[in-house]
Amino acid sequence: MRFETPRFKQAAVVALHDERLRTALARSRVGFIGHREAAVEALPEFEQLRDTAAQIKDHVLDHLDYYLQRYEQAVVAAGGKVHWAHSDEEAQRIIVDICRAADAKVITKGKSMVSEEIGLNDALIAAGYEVVETDLGEYIIQLAKEPPSHIVGPALHKTREQVTALFAEHHGRARKETVAELVTEAREMLRDKFFRADVGITGGNFLIAETGTSVIVTNEGNGDLTQTLPRVHIVTSGIERVLPSLDDLPVFLRLLARSATGQDTETYTTLSTGPRRAGDPDGPEEYHVVLVDNGRSQMLGSRFRKMLRCIRCGACMNHCPVYGSVGGHAYGWVYPGPMGAVLTPIYQGLKDSYDLPNACTLNGRCQSVCPVKIPLPEMLRELRHLQHVERMGPRLQRHALAVWRFVASQPWLYRIAEKLATTTLARLGGPKRRVHKLPFAEGWTQSRDLPAPAGSTFLSQVPRSKRA
């Protein structure tokens, strides 16, 4: 996947002018926020579950090596195979090799963010395979040749009219106008692929060490057709997704559905353990799991460890005013929104991703809805700190900060600066006491007036008896 984050600012401005995007974002925001709130309200244990989930994740991360080995043992015992990929490239390689050994031609895929992260589609297509995304949203953006704009609703930015046009162009059938017709047409087109596929690739929302099970949740049932019909099933998953026991799973299922889509449960929750067994009439003959590290083990030892708790529910972006304004594509890489603003700099470098940690008001709503309580604002601030230490960012801003910091550390100087600011602004404000244009503060005055001060500071007005 292309990395466009260095152009965040320009992309954001373009996105802000896209009226269709604005409509789509407004619609999804209302839906996501409202549904989640209602679902959470209906479950009094929700807060308790969040605490528990964070604890379980931290425990797993502290003993990740152990649980991964236990998981591997259990997968092997069930007749499956585990592959370990240190980097994205190695993961691509492993998967291409499995497909080649299976003599595959058509590959179906369920929605998986890891697969986006490791650039799997491009690698498979380059290797000559026909790759079909089967999640409706993923399918739409595959046709449009676009990256996902949301980790749960990848085609959230597309309007119905756009989907109509896309389908008409690619399916060569009569134009379908209603959502029902569009869904039916996609269903028909993909049916054939499901049955023709040689390999089905899904993600793994959770891996269970106790039983060697991989878990996916979907609403469409596409993941199940993807993993049941072909001869070979490949699960791709980050190494951080393992849980000790089946009994840990419900905690996360309860949180995930409510946080992601505001439902009590997703429609399909599927636990897969190994390949087809003796006497089974269906199911894949081979079952592979590709465990992807790709920088995760290094994150474990950094101050960003808590980011590995993430279960990719999307709640943080649904509640983010910046995401809600510019949409997912402006972020320029696989992961958008607050979690992406943390992950992208870690993966792609602090400098190229300069804007992401900074384009945030630190309002904290993401953290307050995150089902595993990741302190996202704190991490974004931590990234800013690293950028500050490495002297990144616009020079003018850096120097202004340094000057301000010096002045603020000298009360007498601060008093002078204050007085200067107060009188100047008061004069600029005029009788209406509003400043329209201010050199060096165009960022403010290009779209806002600045209330003008009254003429003297509060501290200078404080009665003597109350001064200290």
Partner: protein, 247 residues
């Protein structure tokens, strides 16, 4: 003909993490892909990053205990009778439920469902149900669903009240494809098989032969909200889910 894979140019710039922790081992961009190498490297890395060596036997024993006996986590309080909660929740997700007094009532109920919805009478059923008396013109087959399968009738292992879902397990008699390929999925569930929480379902699986290859928890017909967040049923899986609750 498949071409050999083409990977992007090897990028030698240090990643951010490497600059942050220069003393740490470099994430190799070169394929390591040799059996076992990456595995051990990843496991070693994890231990190093956690600032500890490999786990000691005592610690491993404690973790093994954690795997086999997880602590009891919070579960949602369920107020009401299990079957009622189950019905209330699964119907909220657009499934339909019909209560029957006896398993022998299943064929008639299925026949009626076929008639109501003008469905073909050629249906797939899971083995244990094939032994029932099925009136003509219904014709059965067991085994995997065929590509154009219209209706399947499955026997659920359990129902879960908490989520309002049926639990089906893959096995020689119960094909997984029945759950996803047909347009109409009819599921037979015994009232006494409804358990309160997911944890109770796992316990039941553990006590009855362990994990099936596939466990499908199904909470309604297939749905999607991927176009303009408009909920539409029948995305890829069944358009209708009809539960026959027996007993």
């Amino acid at each position: 003909m498949s071409k050999p894979p083409q990977f992007g140019p090897v990028d030698d710039r240090p990643t951010f993490l490497e600059r942050l922790f220069p003393w740490k081992q470099r994430v190799s961009k070169k394929p390591l892909y040799q059996l076992g190498v990456s595995r051990d490297l990843i496991l070693d890395n994890i231990a190093t990053e956690l600032s500890r060596g490999p786990l000691q036997p005592a610690a491993r024993a404690a973790l093994a205990e954690r795997v086999s006996h997880a602590p009891r986590h919070p579960r949602p309080a369920l107020n009401g009778e299990l079957a009622e909660l189950f019905i209330q929740r699964i119907t909220r997700r657009a499934a339909t439920v019909q209560t029957l007094t006896d398993l022998s009532d299943v064929p008639a109920a299925v026949a009626q469902h076929l008639q109501t919805h003008c469905l073909p009478t050629h249906i797939a059923v899971s083995d244990p149900l094939a032994a029932l008396f099925w009136p003509s013109p219904i014709q059965l087959h067991t085994g995997a669903a065929r590509r154009n399968e219209a209706v399947a009738v499955s026997l659920a292992r359990l129902g879960v009240a908490e989520t309002g879902s049926v639990l089906l397990g893959a096995g020689p008699d119960t094909p997984t494809t029945h759950n996803f390929v047909p347009d109409d999925h009819i599921v037979v569930l015994h009232r006494q098989d409804i358990v309160p929480h997911l944890e109770d379902a796992w316990a039941s699986l553990r006590n009855h032969g362990g994990m099936p290859r596939a466990v499908n928890l199904i909470a309604g017909p297939s749905r999607t909200g991927d176009i303009e967040q408009t909920i539409q049923l029948g995305a890829h899986g069944p358009r209708r889910l009809h539960v026959l609750l027996v007993g």
